[in-house]
């Protein structure tokens, strides 16, 4: 089948009433949680994961993907109107977007953000469609040694691109790997690290960890902090950019799309990294850098295009190589696994409707999001007035039902509560829980491949440097580590993240 046939197959799958419905549901939910501060896409997807078990595979994946990129649209609304970024990825949008709103240009900023996101989403969708088959045919030649090197590279690079201290992130990955080893060892049948608990023989369920670390811990943390409240500025006037704004925004959208698509593919990349990189790019190339921070339309257009492009292109490594690049993709991986599908090159060959259906749904979802966000903006703004005390009981209930429904046992809920406590402790220790999740999902895959590679080579570790692809990946890993030790790079990295947090 050629490219057009495959794309047609994708659209015919994505356009069935069920899939269309779940695409809309995902886009709506994504916008909702994007608008509401205090609930992020990670927690939402963790809560909804057990529910996707009851849905057809493609419908579940379409919905979860919709939540992720939908949150990028919703997040910008809150950032622009009330200076409260709904998501980490729209932190930089708030800088210039809110200023624009104060100057009475809120409509212009919202429109630029939504249209820029749509354009970026379209380009990134095509990016996946083109990169998918190419990369996965390449990945078919991968042996265990290549996979080990690829995963090591991915895990280490992810720690550097993620925010926070690198050593802590590496520690969190190791802890995730250790947690992934709990249960019966696949090759020997021996149970390990279970402390004799029968409930742990099958290993710890991904949902238990995700809901504990991201659901419960986040609720507890939000309740501790005094509610941050923004003030809604002025009424919305015209919802269309002025000619001047339009002229200045479109090159920024193009650049943001490029930056976002590239950074989304990198391990640890994704929406957040993409948006703040795009902001610094815009500031650098602008002829009027002094306007940034004071309502420059480029400062909204670039990052908004970038976060949407990044959210979508981060699906590329997962769908083609089977390797998740950030914690969102780790969730998506387990959504595949719930249905017994292992994403990677073979899915593309044996179940093309899954890959192409998902890709087509992303474009449809983006189209829906423009409609959901622009004409209906008033509805979402009203939602901002819902206080957290009415929200968190609902999240709590969904979390509990979700965890209980995995195996219908008390043990899982208690264990999730334990992970909630652990997640809370890690927040106090200023450790980001994301890398732990990445280590946890990649752990079993990494262990199987290390064992395989070394069994084939009779225990000789040189197998990792003798195979050319593996060698290149290991050199890249060493290079990344070296970069971290260089003081000048560390300084730029810290500055970049400080800018994001400011």
């Amino acid at each position: 089948m050629n490219f057009v046939d495959l794309l047609m197959l994708g659209f015919s799958e994505a356009l069935t009433p069920t899939n269309l419905g779940f695409c809309l549901l995902g886009a709506l939910l994504g916008t909702l949680i994007g608008v509401l501060p205090g609930i992020g896409p990670t927690a939402t997807i963790a809560v909804l994961l057990p529910i996707t078990f009851y849905l057809p595979p493609l419908a579940g994946l379409i919905m979860l993907a919709g939540i992720y990129y939908g949150a990028q649209y919703g997040g910008s609304t809150t950032a622009i109107l009330v200076n409260l970024p709904g998501e980490a990825s729209s932190v930089v949008t708030a800088v210039d977007g809110y200023k624009m709103a104060q100057q009475g240009r809120a409509g212009s900023a919202l429109a630029v953000a939504a249209l820029g996101s749509f354009f970026a989403g379209t380009v990134a969708t095509f990016g996946i469609a083109i990169a998918g088959p190419t990369l996965s045919s390449f990945a078919l030649s991968f042996g265990p040694a290549e996979y080990v090197s690829l995963m090591l590279f991915g895990l280490l690079a992810a720690t550097i691109l993620a925010r926070g201290p690198v050593l802590k992130a590496i520690g969190m990955i190791l802890l995730g790997l250790l947690l992934g080893m709990v249960g019966i060892d696949a090759s020997s049948g021996e149970e390990r690290l279970t402390f004799g608990a029968v409930e742990l023989f099958d290993g710890i369920d991904f949902v238990v960890i995700a809901i504990g670390l991201f659901g419960f811990a986040e609720i507890i943390e939000n309740l501790e902090n005094v509610e941050a409240r923004g003030i809604l500025v002025s009424k919305l006037s015209r919802l269309w950019p002025t000619r001047e704004d339009f002229r200045r925004a479109w090159p920024a959208v193009l650049r943001g799309t490029g930056v976002g698509t590239l950074l989304g593919v990198l391990p640890g990349g994704g929406a957040t990294l993409a948006s703040f990189c795009a902001y610094s790019v815009e500031k650098k190339v602008s002829k009027r850098p002094q306007e940034f921070g004071d309502g420059a339309v480029e400062g909204v257009a670039g990052p908004e295009a970038a976060n949407n492009a990044g959210a979508q292109s981060s699906f590329i490594p997962l769908l083609t190589l089977g390797i998740p690049s950030n914690n969102m993709m780790a969730m998506m991986l387990s959504a595949f696994i719930i249905h017994g599908i292992t994403p990677g090159p073979t899915v593309l060959a044996t179940q093309p409707e899954i890959f192409w259906g998902l890709v087509a749904s992303m474009w449809i979802g983006n189209l829906m999001l423009v409609v959901i966000n622009l004409p209906l903006i008033g509805v979402w703004v009203k939602l901002l007035t819902v206080p957290y005390r009415l929200l968190y009981p609902a999240i709590l209930l969904f979390c509990c039902v979700g965890v209980y429904s995995i195996n219908n046992r008390i043990f899982d809920v208690a264990l999730a509560a334990g992970f909630g406590l652990l997640g809370y402790a890690f927040r106090k220790a200023k450790c980001e829980p994301g890398p732990l999740l990445l280590g946890f999902v990649l752990g079993p895959l990494l262990e199987t491949n290390i064992r395989r590679a070394l069994t084939i080579s009779h225990g000789n570790p040189s197998v990792f440097v003798e195979r050319p692809i593996s060698l290149v990946l290991l050199i890249a890993t060493a290079g990344v580590l070296l970069l971290m030790i260089l003081p000048s790079f560390r300084k730029t990295r810290e500055e970049a993240f400080q800018e994001e947090e400011a």
Partner: protein, 154 residues
């Protein structure tokens, strides 16, 4: 821990706490895996990689602790035990009640007790919210999605 950053001296408390957690989990991993077969590199037993990972975790933890000990003093944000204890109690109670008395009782417990965690909660709102969410949950999760849980205690 009363005056953050001003007390002077050294010791980055969040880092020291991280170190304690990492070293603790690493040691726990070593202890739990002490009886596992190690095997050799070409035929790894189940204990081979857990032991390596546990040691790496201990080393990383020690490094973080070492750097943290000499850095300027930073205190840990003061924990508030009330929301923490309430949420955990509500969640664990939910599991036990769901097992023996069904969804409605468990959901009511979770939402009523959970609402205590936020001091802004108002009684009227909490009651309405509990009724609404419990009905919604029973209809969507148990009837709609077929989660295996009785609705009523009888």
């Amino acid at each position: 821990m009363a005056s953050p950053n001003k007390a002077g001296g050294t010791g980055d408390r969040p880092d020291l706490f991280t170190a304690a957690l990492f070293i603790g989990f690493g040691a726990l991993g070593l202890w739990a895996g002490r009886d596992l077969t190690l095997g050799t590199a070409s035929a790894m037993g189940p204990g081979y990689l857990p032991r390596i990972v546990s040691w790496l975790l201990i080393i990383i933890g020690a490094a973080i602790g070492g750097f943290g000990a000499v850095r300027a003093r930073v205190d840990i944000a003061r924990p508030k035990l009330w929301p923490l204890a309430i949420i955990l109690a509500a969640v664990i109670g939910f599991a036990f009640i769901a097992e023996f008395f069904g969804f409605v009782a468990a959901s009511v417990w979770l939402l009523l007790v959970g609402s205590l965690a936020d001091r802004d909660s108002r009684l009227r709102e909490v009651i309405l919210l509990t009724a609404g969410l419990t009905t919604f949950g029973a209809l969507v999760f148990i009837i709609g999605l077929g989660v295996q849980m009785p609705i009523w205690p009888f």
